[in-house]
Amino acid sequence: MEIPVDKLDGVAVAAVPVDELDASNSGEFKRDITPVLQSHTKLVLDLRQLRFVDSSGLGAMLSCLRQLSAKGGDLKLCSLSKQVRALFELVRMHRIFEIYGTKEEAIRAFQN
């Protein structure tokens, strides 16, 4: 999948470009986000398009966080729909990720 990446104030902002991130496409997502993870340490995943994420999709995002943490970086999430936010809460992943309402808030959090 083609993941659009913007760089704003030293922070990479990658938009997850699908409505559903699940077993059918999470492998593809992991593969295509890898170059972004390799070339950045501060990453915001913009989930505004996402409407549903299953456990393999959540696992893919967790893997991103771990890869960045391992090299001293961090991953923040923004623009979660109510349904997607509920799925993070369901598995307690909202306690692992920093989640922000907007892209700007997430970028600001990196700067602070």
């Binding site: 696992g59 369901l90 692992i96």
Partner: protein
């Protein structure tokens, strides 16, 4: 409201609406509609009215920010809805006239509606009656359940043997249901726990690698009598999160992809018959969790529409668990509050206990649900963690008071240390609830003293009794309109919403004119039932005979066998001793046996074989007939119960929690012959000992006999020649000439000291009680007086009374 007027305006509007639905919902001209189409068109027209009222009701609740009850039950035995809805809306006569104008007949259309058999028996029917009462009382209470595609199986009889046929009641979808896809719930199952740390370094168990089910709600509007309130029953269908798993599909395994979708949808495919513990365990566990998860997701969604702080939750939410099937609600609500809403454990626990309440429905220890720990961990790994933590805290609390009492700790523990280890769902329900209730006075007493005494000692304040009840709208006004009309002609119709008003009938009990009318109504009901019997067996019952009726699930503890023993006694007395029965009788049975319950199915065969011998013996012809009506269900019960003279409620004392059939029969003027069990005891208190035939062991005596192993069936066999002759008949092949020794197991089983249902301990007393009943029946004036007094004194057993008690003592909801 009761005398349903038929206004020209209502009739015209309804007729127009029916025709509109025929044309625009079904796309057919009225003259081209099939019988089912006609039912659907009428139902949709009626549903329109209900939806208007439903929106008004919801608006009323929202404006007052009412506390709401969520009644969670894995079964709802609804039966047919059209007649009940028309009656409660006051539209029946308008509808009848509208259909006459269209050249159709309302009775035929009502009869064509398939029963919604989303339940096995009493537990599900109780839930349906409670919904009727909640709506009639104007209380904010909705039901939550599963939208089974296949309800309880259809029963057919082949050479006396039960055969099961699937009941695909949703094959053509139900016109009463409205799907709400926008409120679909995501339900995770399976997976594993990943032990990680959160951003603050605290322990953070994450539930990973779960599979997703989707719960699609379907609402059935429930109209209260008078039409002021329309609540709903929300039933969830399970769906796959995708049409196909495209990952599997893309790998080329089309059939596996389809299979996965089918597996997800299997969750709500079929109602489990009762008494099938062990069969399909995993599916049943997922089914129970599916119900709980969907319900709680909906409760939280509704709560958050008007509130932000979970401190308000118990003031706005009451959740009643109808038996242990929804007991996972304890762990699920804790999971939501702790994991999703970030409450501290203690606050979450107080909130959970304050919102949840549990109704126990069984005294049979083997019927208390347990799930293997390994299975629960496999299906719900996070919930098992939570259950363990609840248990740790419980046992710590108990150990502070009883540090040396390891046995007590073992009994209270949520985990049974058996092989394999099991989670005790009743213990989970009790520890997580602020209220634990039994369903009849004796049942609650036995709950406290015998079934779970350790819990009672720990939290006596949580235990309370709520004797079951039935809706008089369904079981008298609708099922027996002729009796309802007769009662109305004498005392008016206030009893329809206040059953205590029936007391006013007492003054008519001895009135010869009223008695005559009462007997006329009973005879007409018997004639109607005779027609039903004739349709299934070609038998013609004598309408002057005593209709002795035993209808309920077939189960050893309900002792249909004891009834058959009386029949055999009467028959052998007639043909061997030449002693004619005191009164001619028609013995009527109906009921289903769980498909895997061999003994119960044998009892059905026995009833048929005994019936075949007796019904074909000319010597017995004028005295005895035995009928078994197949496929017992709510709509059939509505025809059977009004016709009963004698109501058989003869379970072993201390085994039936309450029973509600006993109440339905008495309300329709049948006299009970029964044991001191369940609500029979309270019926006796209400109607008076002289108006009921109570016999046999007391609950304490039966329990002591079992506990002390002092039951000696051979002593009863030796002592009473009547008993001996009946028991010997089972090994004589008298009733199984084509299949020798077919019933020899009964001979062995009832002479076995391990017969836990103590048949012979009660048989002599039962035969005597039956003789007394027959003598009483031979005096029509005295019998009719008893029957009228039974009707008059049934006020206590209205589900309106029961629901009011739940509302004030447990739920804290108001009209």
């Amino acid at each position: 409201m009761a005398t349903q007027q038929c206004s020209v305006e209502d009739t015209a509007a309804l007729q127009e609406s029916i025709q509109r639905h025929a044309r625009y919902s079904l796309g057919k001209a009225w003259c081209d509609l099939s019988a089912r189409d006609r039912f659907v068109a009428v139902a949709l027209a009626v549903r329109d009215r209900m939806l208007d009222l439903s929106l008004e009701t919801e608006d009323r609740y929202r404006r007052s920010d009412a506390k709401r009850l969520y009644y969670v039950s894995i079964e709802y035995l609804i039966g047919q809805s059209l007649g009940n809805n028309l009656q409660n809306l006051g539209m029946r006569e308008s509808c009848r006239q509208a259909l006459i104008n269209l050249g159709a007949d309302l009775d035929e259309i009502e009869e064509s509606e398939p029963d919604a058999a989303l339940g096995n028996g009493g537990l599900g029917r109780l839930a349906a009656c409670f919904l009727d009462s909640l709506a009639t009382l104007g209380m904010p209470g909705n039901g939550y359940g599963i939208n089974y595609e296949y309800g309880l199986f259809k029963q057919e009889i082949d050479n006396g043997y039960q055969r099961e046929k699937p009941d695909n009641w949703l094959a053509h979808s139900s016109p009463w249901q409205i799907a709400r896809p926008d409120e679909t719930c995501v339900v995770p199952v399976y997976g594993r726990i990943e032990h990680s740390l959160d951003r603050k370094g605290g322990y953070n168990p994450m539930w990973m690698e779960w599979k997703v089910l989707l719960g699609l709600p379907h609402d059935m509007p429930i109209t209260g009598y008078g039409g002021r309130t329309v609540n709903f029953l929300r039933l969830y269908s399970a769906h796959s999160s995708h049409d196909f798993d495209m990952g599997i599909f893309n790998d080329g395994d089309y059939f596996k992809a389809v299979q996965q979708k089918i597996t997800s949808e299997t969750i709500s495919k079929v109602l489990y018959p009762s008494d099938t513990a062990g069969a399909g365990q995993e599916l049943r566990l997922v089914q129970e969790y599916f119900l709980v998860a969907c319900t709680l997701r909906d409760i939280v969604r509704t709560f958050e529409q008007a509130h932000t702080s979970y401190q308000d939750f118990p003031a706005k939410v009451a959740i009643q668990m109808n038996d242990t099937h929804p007991a996972l609600a304890v762990a699920e609500l804790m999971r939501i509050l702790v994991d999703e809403k970030n409450l501290e454990w203690e606050e979450a626990w107080e909130t959970t206990q304050a919102a949840l309440a549990y109704t126990n429905h069984t005294l049979l220890p083997e019927a208390l649900e347990k799930w293997p720990v390994a299975l629960l961990e496999h299906v719900l790994p996070r919930h098992l963690q939570i259950i363990y933590e609840i248990n740790r805290r419980l046992l710590e609390q108990v150990a502070q008071v009883h540090p040396e009492d390891k046995d007590r700790l073992g009994r209270l523990s949520l985990i049974e240390e058996s092989t394999p280890k099991q989670v005790r769902m009743a213990n989970l329900a009790m520890v997580g609830s602020h209220s634990i209730n039994g369903v009849a006075a004796i049942h609650t007493q036995l709950l406290e003293t015998s079934l779970v005494p350790d819990f009672y000692r720990l939290w006596p304040e949580r235990f309370n009794n709520k004797t079951n009840g039935i809706s008089q709208r369904r079981w008298l006004l609708k099922a027996n309109p002729a009796l309802a009309d007769l009662i109305r002609s004498v005392i008016g119709d206030a009893w329809i919403t206040d059953l205590d008003q029936l007391r006013a009938l007492e003054k008519c009990a001895g009135d010869a004119g009223f008695q005559r009318e009462f007997r006329k109504v009973k005879r007409a009901s018997k004639a109607r039932l005779a027609q039903v019997i004739g349709d299934s067996s070609r038998m013609k019952p004598d309408l002057e005979s005593l209709f002795d009726i035993h209808v309920k699930r077939i189960h050893a503890y309900k002792r249909q066998l004891l009834n058959v023993m009386h029949i055999i006694h009467e028959y052998l007395s007639l043909i061997e001793d030449g002693r004619q029965p005191t009164a001619p009788r028609t013995y009527v049975f109906a009921g289903k046996a769980a498909p895997g319950y061999w003994l119960a199915k044998q009892i059905i065969k026995l009833i048929h074989n005994v019936g075949r011998v007796i019904n074909n013996d000319s010597r017995a012809g004028q005295w005895m007939k035995v009928a078994f009506i197949p496929d017992y269900r709510v709509s059939l019960a509505e025809k059977i119960i009004p016709a009963a003279d004698l109501s058989e409620q003869i379970s072993t004392a201390g085994t039936e929690a309450s029973g509600t059939g006993n109440m339905k029969f008495a309300l329709n003027g049948a006299i009970t012959i029964g044991t001191r069990d369940g609500a029979n005891i309270e019926i006796r208190e209400e109607v008076g000992a002289e108006n009921i035939f109570i016999f046999g062991l007391k609950p304490g005596e039966a329990q002591a006999m079992l506990r002390e192993r002092s039951y000696r069936p051979h002593e009863y066999y030796d002592r009473d020649s009547r008993v001996r002759r009946v028991v010997d008949a089972f090994r004589s092949n008298l009733f199984c000439r084509d299949e020798p020794d077919l019933f020899a197991w009964i001979y062995r089983s009832i002479l076995d000291e391990n017969d836990e249902f103590l048949h012979l301990a009660d048989l002599s007393a039962y035969l005597d009680a039956q003789e007394n009943a027959a003598k009483a029946f031979n005096d029509p004036a005295a019998w009719t007086r008893m029957a009228i007094l039974n009707v008059a004194r049934m006020g206590k057993f209205s589900s309106d009374r029961a629901v009011r008690e739940y509302a004030s003592d447990i739920w804290g909801i108001e009209a």
